[in-house]
Amino acid sequence: MTFSTFRTIFATMLHLRFLVFLSALTISYNSVGQQCSLVVKGRVDDVHHEHGLEYATVYIEETGQGAQCDESGAFEIKEVCRGKYHFQVSHLGCESKSFYVSVNRDTTLVFSLEHHSQMLSEVVVSENRSRTGIGLQHYTVAEAILNRQQGKDLASIASTIPGVSVLRTGNSLGKPIIHGLYGTRVQLLNQGIPQEGQQWGIDHAPEIDASTAQKISVIKGSAAVKYGVAAMAGVVLLEAAPIKADPHVHGHVNLSYLTNGRVAQQQFLLENTTSFARMRLTGSTSYGGDQKTASYYLTNTGNRQAAASLLMTNDAGSSFYRSLYGSFYYSETGILRGAHVGNSTDLEAAIQREIPFYTADTFSYHIHAPRQRVQHWLIKSEIKKQVNDRLRLGLDAAVQVNKRQEYDVRRGGRDSLPALDLALYNIWADAYIQFEKTEHSRFTLGLQPRFNNNSNTAGTGIYPLIPNYTLFNPALYASWLMKWKAFDWEAGARIEMYDLRASYIDRLGVQYQPHRNSINQAYSFGFSREMGPQWQVKSNLSLLIRAAQVHELYSNGLHQGLAALELGNAQLGNEKSLKWSNDVRFQPGEESQLSLSLYWHYIRDYIYLAPTLENRLTIRGAFPVFAYRQDDVSLRGFDFLWHQGIDHSWEINTKAAYVKGSYTDGSGDLIYMPPLRLGTEVAKTFEPFSGIKDLRTALEIQYTARASTQTRITDYAAPPPSWYMVNLSVGAKYEKKGFKTAFQISVDNVLNTRYRDYLNRLRYFADDLGRNVKMSIKLIF
């Protein structure tokens, strides 16, 4: 009798450093059967509940043989020939999975499906015993949603999770806001690596193509112990799914077209396992032109994007795991022409306009100034060594290069000369050691050095807004996880050196070389408790001390978009943050889940850009002066999510998120806080018929309230009124032996509602997008 184990790995389960393996055990029987009389039987399980999935189907792609599971999830396929097969396992509403198994004898297979995520087609609360903190809320965008959102930017995808909003500069440039904070207070992790870009400006979108990741999730809460002080408000994670051990080339090609902006997109993914490595290649391109509001074109809002990535790993189950990852991202984005102003008189005139200046009557693919062009490279390697049952060592290292060029409307044919030209080089590494006594008891100690070099490329003809600088930022962190009295507890601490050297020159030719050395600290304490299968409670308290960053200290120049002079403040002290986040999850039945997050975030000496009373007279007129300053603020809010399924066919998903940000001295609210958002989606999934399965239609209604008018800082224009948005979508899969496609038609803003989004900087000048129909087709092989 031989005993062989075949491992399958689940797409959704790779989280942070630990891979969770789900095994399909093949237990062979004594059998002398003939070549084609083998019996394959087994069970299809739900990963989360370890019970069988009733009426799941299992079929062998190569032969077309198949079976449906009974109520206990058991199946049996008879008269199977010897050979290697792709087993296709599916369940109503689930993303079907393929397993490559060799059948030499009568075989018993146990397949596990992530039923959970498919049932909760909106968002899923992950159960990861991660190094990020046990009490933190970790939400993952379900695979089905990820498929539906294909082609959108990262921030939009992340905003399907309540509590996450998007700060925009037009439709193509968006950055995620978590619990009211964004930019250098939200960390983006691309394949485990902190994304390093120019994140100081609100028009700086993260330089990532979301389609290179198979899993996108959000940690709402301070994960600073593990990822540094930039994770103050939360983390957005892009992760790769493990690559299956399948010697054939598998993958998909996705083609889509969006009517608004006439955007054509393609995206592909190829996977293959060879003796050298398991490999995955992804690539995408997008080409779009002027977008349109309900009634007019947004001239010069086209976008080009190209991205590629290559991942090579060995078996993720190996005790010595190695991986190498490289990615490239390029984008060129036009900024609405009518949003470009010369001084505050122009700004006022532009805000007063019903339809922006320069609005063309016709559509165009051309991108003129103002525009920006961004490139990002990443190379990363990861090593994990399981020394023995208790000891694990890991080393991650990455190099990133980021180039940003911004072009303004300029005189004398200088439109093609960048007004801002920055190159950022980053090296980052994480070396850690982990002792694991049991699953509930673990100690981690890590050393995480980081080095940045940011330089202005000469020749712009403009004094740079941000000085040249280097940052040496090594960190030491430790976290301890334990189980005590039915609670999982975790405590962590991190200490960072923050050595910043800047260099800039003034108009008289005098060079300044300020040097600041500070210490950042982060402490975290949290617990998690499950009460029966229905309830889960999480809580986390994080304290963080963060030194002022380079743009807050030394920026100096004109912010063209808002006709304001921005001045750094070299006198800034540390910012202290205390965030308490709580999460309650209630799962009364298989088809129902409620989750509520409550948080309270107090920031002492919060660093932000605020207008001063000064108006500086220049030859172009007077400009308001904005300077960085510090105040005590608090952010309080909740996120709510309710999924209700009915008879495995209908589902109702309801979301709500609210945050109130205000000054603790009672002087008013904080500006640019996301307004209250509510949304409900009603969806129906139909029974499969004639090869069409997972036919799902959905109607979504979103309500966004008016933002606070009680802000301490007076905005250029009053917050726009509340608005409703109606979205529709239909998607299905068509599967016939060896041929699989998925198609999707979705209509955003069905009613072509005219609205302005408070969090879109272009709201001062123009309406937001009108109706947008997206058609996409995916070929899976």
Partner: protein, 187 residues
Amino acid sequence: MKFTKYTWLLFASLFIFSCDPDDPEPVNEEEVITRVTYTLTPQGGGSTVSLVFSDPDGDGGTAPVITGGNLALGKTYTGVLTLLNEAANPDEDITTEIEEEGEDHQFFFSVSSGLTDAFELAYTDADAKGNPIGLTTELTTKKAGTGTFRVTLRHQPNKTASGVKNGDITNAGGETDVEVDFPVTVL
């Protein structure tokens, strides 16, 4: 997967990296305007008036120096605008640049309440399409008063929009390259 073996090298390199930022290079601000001069020469004799706005160190630093002037009532002046960039080395005459890109530029003139109806102004130049630029003008003083006289230069205005050709800035759009106020008295 041999590459990954060398990860430690990368790790080690972090500690031997140079920590000094690149030296900033001096910026040649070719586009900046530091001096605007509006020279008003009376037709038929009289004293020439020069309205000057000068800010040689650009935005920030020392405050700009503004020179106003007194104009005689009932006279017609020939107005000539010159723009200079003293930040470039050598000084750069921006006037020619504006002239060459005439279709993309237009000057506008306006007054504060103290000078309402004090002037009549006419463009005396034109770009390739026959629309005014405003580098040369004819200014007639009609009424006595004291106030500020504003000169605005717009880049890429919509010259075909209503009123723009006649000097009305309301529908012009474009970015402001110059916006300077001069104290002026007509007596």
